[in-house]
């Protein structure tokens, strides 16, 4: 089985939020600014007009890091958070008791509460929608105007993502925590 990961050419991001809408429409995510599986982080610019620091104003597309050592999965008392066959971090809403340990444990703030089921929800790499139908892209990757994302099998040395990670410099978010994220930011 594939072990899915995502490489983000984040310098391409123009903060248009096509990914956010595609995610909500594909996965039936709730409306509301606090109900998102995916987001673009923006730093407020530093400096005074017109002497502004261009570099300070960057866009950081992000979502669940699908850590190989996921703190959310470790703290879950009911095993609601689990790894599916694609090594994607998922939540079994039947088992979730909304204790919210996972939300506190996640260093990336990637989880929120779905008010319909009153359970925790998060990015699934579209595994129960697109991947389940045999498609090989996530909604966010597919729709992106500047093609920030490359999604693929990290265990397949021939895959594009493996090639990218071999040939391009990259970093992970909060790598020092030992969470081993499967999101890689290309520099």
């Amino acid at each position: 089985m594939a072990r899915y990961g995502m490489a983000l050419d984040y310098k391409n991001c123009i903060n248009c939020k096509a990914c956010e809408v595609a995610c909500k429409e594909e996965n039936g995510v709730l409306m509301g600014a606090d109900k998102h599986r995916i987001w673009v982080g923006v730093n407020e610019i530093s400096g005074e007009y017109p002497l502004l620091d261009i570099v300070s104003h960057s866009f950081q597309p992000s979502q669940c890091q699908h850590c190989d050592e996921a703190p959310c999965q470790m703290v879950c008392p009911t095993n609601a958070t689990y790894y599916d066959e694609f090594h994607v971090v998922r939540v079994d809403s039947d088992k979730c008791i909304l204790c919210s340990y996972c939300m506190n444990a996640c260093p990336y703030d990637a989880r929120y509460v779905d008010d319909r089921t009153m359970t925790v929800d998060k990015c699934t790499f579209c595994s129960d929608t697109r991947l389940a139908r045999g498609e090989t892209t996530t909604a966010c990757q597919n729709t992106c105007p500047t093609k920030v994302r490359t999604f693929g099998d990290l265990d397949d040395p021939e895959s594009e993502i493996s090639e990218l990670l071999r040939t391009r410099e990259h970093f992970s978010l909060k790598a020092n925590l030992g969470t081993k994220p499967k999101l890689f930011y290309l520099t």
């Binding site: 123009i14 809408v21 502004l52 261009i54 960057s58």
Partner: protein, 802 residues
């Protein structure tokens, strides 16, 4: 308490409602918005895909903005649950922006126009009664024939106006057959001056090859937020030291500025001085492509003399623009070092400053100096796949008067020919026309108007004047999908279906990789809505003959022609409007592409066609596709030759001088930027998540940005005690609007900015109603002198915390 309505449940509800007919609705409340007490968006309006039995994938074209990107609709049990990008279209190359993704919400917007309606209340009040299509057509026919009878068959006593769209031409054929001379569209509030400036200088409004350009100056264009395909996709993959150096020139620090390698904060309306100084450097340092200039320039020596003797130096421009002289010099040198793979990006936007036409001329000439015209990495004309047109009907009405313009009295050579502008183009000046109408300066009475997919109340400066005009019209017929501010002033409302419910005229897309694409019907029209082709078929069936009878009464030419008793035959041949709408769109499209083997089938199956597509198209990687092999791409179609009638790039246009327009781009002192103490220059613009007022009621987009905010410099805001989220009143001589504040250093202390398209006054729009500020309530109606285009950035405003 918010009511949760899933899309599926909503649709079941609407089906039930249409079966029940009008009985469930009161006659005055035809807008669903009145049924909701809360204005909150239901929390669950999206649908998880893959939970239905029957799934279909239908290729179509987006209509959330003007780009026409290709999409594939996922239809599950008859409901559109997802719009995905269609990878096969060279223009949009497998992408859909946030608006494209949110198109589903346009289809299932509960506030949509659902039935034909006739006004019962005062104009602007939004009170209507539901009628049948037949009743609506009958009402229009009676009113129209009465007016035409009284105006003795002056067909021009009706105005026709339309917004941009694939079916604009379908509506325009109605205008032509009707025989009016008064046609207005988006041009004069859109890209009139840029298209014409390039048109007269290099013979066409070009595209830019941002995929291969090594140096890009993007001035007054904001491709990170005002998305244009494929430019947006091409530009930002290669900036920040990755192959293309991007210089952003903008008074505001936009998202484009954030993605650029250098941002130059220019004073509003002074871009012309910047370009003239770039030109000065290139001419005096002889950095230009001498072979190109020799071969393709006309009037080069005159222009060189003009620029040099006027001393348009970088130092001169730095005073005017606020950009350092050494930056101007460096950019001029860098641009020419990379030329012809260097682009001074033409942009496509409305007119900001009065000098916009001359700015475009100067930009086109500067581009030409580097030889970057009709070439890879520069500006390109591209190739186009021709389509076969279908018949239109343009009858001769002897009593129809020419366009309602006022020529300047005692006009002299070298002066503008008209009261409000120098040149009358096909579209004409919307502002000029409206103001003439209000000021009683029309050469004859215009008493009615037909308005298609167009929102004059929101789309042009000085909303109060537009309202006055709409009130004065005796018959206003609106064909639209949404109860816009303009629809509120209609006498008759004819509901069109949304783009996902109709097949539109097939369209050819020229460029480096030319193709044909088609908007296919994804689902059947909801409620009683119809495509405009079918609406006009129904209307002309009633209207055509009675109108001919008016002509017969007053038109002596027609009386002569039918004197020998062949009236019926003559009418059918020359005046029968119904025949232009006799065919369904699908039939017309098949006819249009008939000469290409397999095209009709490909357009239905893939939404896209071009010769050898089956051979050329392939996926290269997870994100990339090949449309044409490199050697088959149309980077150059004439070896660099401009498309002007002379085949030359026109620096010096003597025929402009005879019309009172500078024959060469010239700076004038009145163009200098200044703002009186205590006031701010109001800037307006676009946004990646909204398309003008057209998307203002879209629930999913509003989720991304609930309302527009006014940018005000942080230090200035602090002085006035304005904090983030505070409500402020923005006012000018034209009017005022209320909007929340966003203090930021991304704007100069003497300027403010907010996104256009918000603050609608139509109470039938649940979410857009009085949401945010309306720029056009404040912007003054300043006309650009060449075409009378609306100059949007010429208004100073006051700000007051409320």
């Amino acid at each position: 308490m918010q009511i949760e309505v899933s899309r599926r449940k909503f649709l079941q509800g609407t089906v039930a409602m249409s079966v029940a007919g009008g009985s469930a609705l009161s006659v005055t409340n035809l807008f669903a918005s009145h049924e909701h007490e809360s204005h909150a968006i239901a929390k669950s309006i999206t649908t998880k895909t893959g939970e239905a039995k029957e799934v279909k994938h239908i290729p179509t074209l987006c209509e959330m903005c003007v780009n026409k990107c290709a999409a594939i609709a996922r239809v599950e049990d008859g409901i559109v649950t997802k719009l995905d990008p269609n990878p096969m279209f060279p223009k949009s190359r497998n992408m859909l922006c946030p608006r494209g993704n949110a198109g589903i919400q346009a289809l299932y917007d509960p506030d949509r126009l659902k039935y034909p309606m006739i006004r019962t209340g005062e104009k602007g009040e939004g009170k209507f009664k539901r009628v049948t299509w037949d009743e609506a057509f009958k009402y229009i026919t009676e009113k129209t024939t009465k007016i035409l009878d009284e105006e003795q068959d002056n067909r021009s006593s009706f105005l026709f106006c339309a917004g941009e769209g694939m079916a604009e031409h379908t509506f325009k054929t109605f205008y032509q057959a009707f025989g009016s001379s008064n046609w207005l569209n988006h041009a004069s509030i859109c890209l009139q001056t840029v298209a014409s400036g390039y048109g007269v200088t290099i013979g066409a409004y070009p595209q830019a090859d941002l995929e291969n350009a090594e140096y890009i100056i993007m001035a007054g264009a904001n491709r990170a937020e005002a998305i244009v395909t494929p430019d947006t996709m091409d530009a930002f993959k290669r900036t920040k030291g990755r192959g293309a150096k991007l210089i952003c020139v903008d008074p505001r620090f936009t998202n484009t500025a954030a993605k650029s390698d250098k941002w130059l904060a220019i004073k509003p309306g002074t871009d012309l001085a910047f370009v003239l100084a770039l030109t000065y450097v290139v001419l005096t340092e002889e950095l230009y492509d001498k072979a190109y200039v020799e071969k393709y320039f006309a009037g080069f020596e005159a222009y060189k003399k003009h620029v040099v003797t006027n001393s348009y130096t970088p130092l001169w421009a730095s005073e005017i623009t606020g950009i350092k002289a050494k930056d101007i010099t460096t950019i001029a040198r860098e641009f020419m070092a990379h030329a012809p793979k260097a682009v001074y990006y033409p942009g496509r936007r409305s007119t900001f400053a009065q000098n916009d036409f001359q700015l475009r001329r100067a930009m086109a000439i500067f581009q030409g100096l580097g030889g970057g015209i009709d070439t890879k990495g520069g500006l390109i004309f591209g190739d186009k796949i021709s389509l076969k047109g279908h018949e239109s009907l343009i009858p001769m009405y002897d009593k129809a008067k020419s366009r309602a313009v006022t020529k300047k009295a005692n006009h002299k050579e070298g002066e503008a020919g008209y009261d409000d502008c120098a040149v009358i183009s096909g579209g004409g000046s919307w502002l000029g026309w409206r103001n003439r109408f209000l000021e009683g300066k029309m050469p004859y009475k215009v008493r009615g108007m037909f308005c298609y997919k167009h929102n004059p109340m929101m789309n042009m400066p000085n909303t109060a004047k537009t309202a006055k005009m709409l009130k004065a019209m005796e018959l206003v017929v609106c064909i639209d999908t949404m109860p816009s501010d303009t629809v509120m002033y209609a006498d008759v409302v004819l509901p069109e279906c949304t783009y996902l419910e109709r097949t539109d005229p097939v369209k050819t897309f020229g460029g480096v990789e030319p193709s044909i694409a088609q908007r296919n019907r994804v689902v059947d029209p909801l409620f009683e809505t119809k495509p405009v082709n079918e609406i006009l078929r129904g209307l002309t069936a009633q209207l055509s003959r009675p109108l001919f009878d008016i002509t017969k009464k007053y038109d002596e030419e027609v009386q002569d022609s039918i004197a020998d008793g062949n009236e019926e035959e003559f009418y059918k041949e020359e005046y029968d409007m119904t025949k232009i709408y006799a065919y369904d769109q699908e039939e017309l499209n098949e006819h249009a592409v008939h000469k290409y083997h397999g095209a009709a089938e490909a357009l239905e199956k893939h939404g896209v066609f071009y010769p050898k597509m089956d051979l050329y198209f392939k996926q290269l990687s997870v994100n990339e596709h090949q449309y044409y092999p490199e050697k088959e791409k149309s980077y150059s179609v004439g070896g660099g030759k401009p498309k002007t009638p002379s085949g030359k790039l026109e620096c010096n246009l003597a025929n402009l001088a005879s019309k009172g327009i500078d024959p060469m781009p010239t700076w004038k002192d009145e163009f200098n930027f200044s703002v009186p103490q205590g006031k701010f220059r109001l800037l307006t613009g676009r946004h990646a998540q909204f398309t003008q007022s057209g998307t203002s009621n879209n629930a999913v987009l509003r989720d991304l940005m609930p309302e527009n905010y006014i940018w005000i410099n942080k230090r200035e805001a602090k002085k006035q005690g304005i904090e983030f989220g505070d409500k402020v009143e923005v006012s000018s001589r034209t009017g005022s609007t209320i909007i929340r504040a966003y203090p930021t250093e991304k704007i100069a202390p003497d300027q403010v900015f907010f996104v256009h398209g918000f603050g609608e006054e139509s109470s039938a729009l649940t979410w857009a109603f009085k949401n945010g500020g309306n720029d056009n309530a404040v912007i003054e109606d300043v006309l650009e002198p060449v075409y009378g285009a609306a100059a949007m950035h010429e208004t100073n405003v006051e700000i007051r915390k409320v």
